[in-house]
Amino acid sequence: MTEPYIRTDLADLPDARGYFGEFGGRFVPETIIPALDELEGAYADAIADPAFHAELAHLQRTYTGRPTPVSYARRLSERLGGAQIYLKREDLAHTGAHKINNALGQGLLAKRMGKKRIIAETGAGQHGVGTATAMALLGLECHVYMGTVDIKRQQPNVFRMKLLGAEVIPVTSGSRTLKDAINEAMRDWVTNVETTFYLLGSALGPHPYPMMVRDFQSVIGVEAREQIQELTGQLPEACIACVGGGSNAIGMFHAFRDDDGTELIGVEAGGHGIESREHAARFADLDISRPGILHGTRSYVMQDEDGQIMETHSISAGLDYPSVGPEHAHLRQMERAFYTMATDEEALEAFQVLSVTEGIIPALESSHALAEAIKRAPTMPRDSVLLVNLSGRGDKDLDTVIGVLGS
């Protein structure tokens, strides 16, 4: 490896206080501030150490199976009759989603810091599985908080985590989804901060998490940018990714940040539609979503008039979250990235279309990004290129889809 594996040179933000423009920061109880300082220091130290890059690069190559390929979706593109659609295949990464990139990165960091007890939260279960996997590999103790609503709709992943030796702790407070799992993980961290590493799964939370998770995920875009040029001889007209907390999207977007000809498009969960108020489209429904503070960071938050956090809805557990990573709020404000949404129905349609046209069953989360590509492609010339981040595979979602479509 000639260049560093974790490309921190792509970024000039956040600033020293963890801000991306007016978003980000550190809004957490005093008890864990010293742990965030320690984490920030340890991360800076790791990033400056070529041995850390080499170790992560080695695992990513020999264990995760990176680089993941970019596939041309020929039959899908032909059917739509416009732009040529290419898929970055994070579904082919070990454990079946991009989450492993971050779990391995933070796992190695935890080990370096001498922390032996690892906690994580999970929504869809993919970050939980990624973390449980990395901890089995690294020999660290792993506890995963998961809302009981999500436990029910992502049963296969619950079983996988247990098989991998992790303890899955059911969370029964609040809406019993990802938001509440993060609350419980933070309470655990506040209590056990001296021995415990909190392995946060998306580009959110207090500084340095949004930065660190982005850096570990930016391998997606770094690889894809090279691959798409090799395959097509050009940069894509647009990169499209789904946005839950925002980690797969920021990981894809980052390498394209300075490519002015490439639009960056994030797709949020439109649930039952904006009018229904049952969705997780933080950037689309500005009546109920505005800048606020949740889980230690300032970003867009879905909330009622009194600042109480609202319950969200999405068919995909991984997008079912009332806030969004602060860097996305910043990219949107700078108009460097654009955000749209896809409904449950549109995602389900895309889920089926990709399965029959390409022989790839996508995660319901990733199906939101595909739905946007399916909307856009027909309006674009045939020599244009759309790059979609296929963040994960859909095996985990079969129960949910059977529930809606019937078997």
Binding site: R26, P29, E30, I33, S173, P291, I293, H295, G307
Partner: protein
């Protein structure tokens, strides 16, 4: 007997600590959330504790996602939200308590987001108008003080910051620099909730803080019994009891009164 308060804000807190100190004891500061178990019952609980000699109050504003709170306060504030408690109603509650003649210092205690949604400057101004004397925001470290520091200074309200057993010298210096009124010392690494015992390191921990700041130090988290109150009375300028009183409040007004009396009685 209703008499208008003559001093407010920081001065009222200073006077509270001075009065307790003159009696050779720590100030007793109960926490109670508005709206639990009902709006009226929460006001009655505060009024009862005022009669039992509480020196000041933390008036809790409920939030849907209280990451620093244990099961007791989580459940109570959830009930308060279901009862329709809003930031405005919490401010009005202070106004009502003042109108009843309760003159002890009151600090609004709430997570950042509802206060940001209300408008930070507007919140501080309305808190002052309602008769509150300070503000405690558990998810606001001194790094983010600017969110409230200007308006609190303008209105003369205390803006309290926290220190924890994990705080190093740099953190202690920061809290000492930014906190006004007092510093809230978290007794343990953890979330709120009644504990059987106070941690053994407490005396050394407080000595370490005293050697680095002159600000009044108020202990909270885990204090639940008269024997704890007696233990900390010599050590601290004040102490906060939350979960134990909230649990009593869930039983009856009489239970809150009785616990407050026994906590105050041993000082």
């Amino acid at each position: 007997m209703i008499k208008a308060r003559e001093i407010h804000g920081l001065a009222a807190l200073d006077q509270m600590f001075a009065a307790a100190r003159a009696q050779g004891r720590a100030a007793f500061l109960p926490y109670f959330p508005i709206g639990y178990p009902t709006h009226q019952a929460s006001l009655d609980a505060v009024a009862a504790m005022a009669e039992e000699g509480a020196d000041g109050f933390e008036i809790g504003i409920p939030f849907s996602d209280p990451i620093a709170d244990g099961p007791t306060i989580q459940a109570a504030t959830q009930v308060a939200l279901e009862n329709g408690t809003t930031v405005r109603k919490c401010l009005d509650a202070v106004g009502t308590l003042r109108a009843k003649g309760i003159s002890q210092p009151m600090l609004m205690m709430g997570y950042a987001n509802p206060l940001v949604a209300y408008g930070t400057d507007r919140f501080v101004r309305d808190a002052r108008r309602a008769g509150a004397d300070g503000l405690i925001v558990p998810d606001l470290p001194p790094e983010e003080a600017t969110l409230f520091a200007g308006s609190c200074a303008r209105e003369g309200l205390a803006l309290v910051f926290f220190l924890a057993p994990t705080s190093n010298d740099r953190r202690i210096a920061m809290a000492a620099e930014h906190a006004t009124g007092f510093i809230y010392v978290v007794s343990l690494t953890g979330i709120t909730g009644a504990r059987a015992q106070l941690p053994a390191y407490l005396t050394d921990f407080i000595a370490r803080l005293r050697s680095r700041t002159d600000k009044p130090l108020v202990l909270g988290f885990g204090i639940s019994k008269p024997e704890h109150a007696r233990q900390v009375s010599d050590l601290m300028d004040g102490f906060i009891v939350g979960s134990a009183l909230v649990r009593a409040g869930g039983e009856s007004a009489a239970a809150v009164r009785e616990l407050a009396r026994s906590l105050r009685g041993v000082l």
